[in-house]
């Protein structure tokens, strides 16, 4: 029996390349950059795996939703996990979080995203971590 057959595709020319590392152009060795709320460049652009940490106890002015969120992220927690625990769609979660970042209630730790030239040390760290599983 022969399996069905696929036709290879080429990368789309018009697709935007991965975001350029802000201010890190001089180092072509780097394939992964930290991009996101703390990086300035992609302000407010929350990723599923941006880590959120509460900065303070809920102020009296906090909404119930904000209080619940602040209690969840006394330790770092990803936007995806917050969305799961709070039962909020990702898009709504980012709206809530953007407000809270602006109000200084939480801080965001940006993810390491794929870049045109890879940082092998990150890949090696992941390989080492998987080996221990």
């Amino acid at each position: 029996m022969t399996p069905p057959k696929r036709q290879r595709r080429e990368p789309h020319e018009h697709l935007p390349p991965p975001p350029a590392p802000a201010g890190k152009q001089k180092n072509p060795e780097r394939l992964f950059v930290v991009a996101g709320p703390d990086g300035g460049e992609r302000d407010g652009d929350l990723d599923l795996v941006t880590l959120i940490v509460a900065r303070a106890d809920p102020p009296p002015s906090a909404t119930p939703e904000q209080s619940a969120l602040l209690r969840l992220c006394t330790a770092p927690l990803s936007v995806a996990e917050l969305s799961a625990y709070l039962n909020l769609p990702f898009s709504m979660m980012t709206v809530v979080l953007t407000d809270m970042l602006t109000a200084g209630l939480v801080t965001a730790r940006a993810p390491i995203v794929r870049q045109a030239v890879a940082d092998r040390s990150i890949l090696e760290a992941v390989m080492h971590g998987l080996q221990k599983l």
Partner: protein
């Protein structure tokens, strides 16, 4: 969504909390057709009980008789399972089990663009399902490996036959797996990491 101040939202168990030293996260996407084993794979390697994030997609009705109005909208809830593996005290890896249909992918900003790479889970009973997924990844320039689930009643093909059928370049790894087993899922992820490392090495002249 309605929150009352008295609501207690169950969060991570104490032992599931990340250390305060956690600085950054990376992600890997596990993508494949319906029932191919995405949830099983996430669950077998995750250190936390897999969680689900949902997104609602609103679509204008299509192909409906105009007499019934062309502004009909349907809302579809799309769910994505994910799990987590702590790599070091500073680095965390997240795995996302993503539906195969591309029309869902844009729902999660940066899901594929930012991922280190992807695992395409393929089922030899329905190999065509993976064709589109693989094509989309190629178009987006997302590096991937193919992991073939060995379902008991599935036809078995040699790797060379699969490579021809999937029209994959020689360097793209194709592995067999049983993602119900943690070691097997880990090996698939390791294959992806070795592949990404080789790509990075090739791109960085020493």
């Amino acid at each position: 969504m309605d929150f009352k101040s008295s609501d207690v939202v169950p969060g991570p168990r104490t032992e599931d909390q990340l250390p305060h030293t956690a600085e950054a996260a990376v992600k890997i996407v596990i993508v494949g057709g319906f029932g191919v084993g995405k949830t099983t794979m996430v669950g077998s390697v995750s250190e936390i009980k897999p969680l689900t994030t949902e997104e609602t997609m609103t679509q204008a009705g299509i192909g409906v008789d105009d007499n019934y109005g062309s502004d009909t909208k349907t809302a579809t809830t799309v769910a994505m399972d994910f799990g987590r593996i702590s790599i070091t005290e500073q680095l965390v890896l997240y795995l996302f089990g993503t539906p195969g249909q591309e029309r869902f992918w844009f729902l999660w900003n940066g899901l594929f663009e930012g991922a280190l790479g992807a695992v395409v889970l393929a089922d030899t009973r329905r190999l065509e399902v993976s064709f589109d997924v693989i094509g989309r990844l190629e178009e987006r320039g997302v590096p991937f490996v193919v992991a073939v689930n060995t379902f008991p009643d599935a036809p078995r093909y040699a790797v060379s036959e699969l490579r021809t059928a999937l029209d994959l370049a020689e360097e793209i790894p194709i592995v067999e797996c049983d993602v119900r087993r943690r070691a097997s899922s880990r090996d698939v992820l390791m294959t992806l990491m070795h592949f990404l490392h080789a790509l990075a090495t090739a791109k960085t002249p020493v």
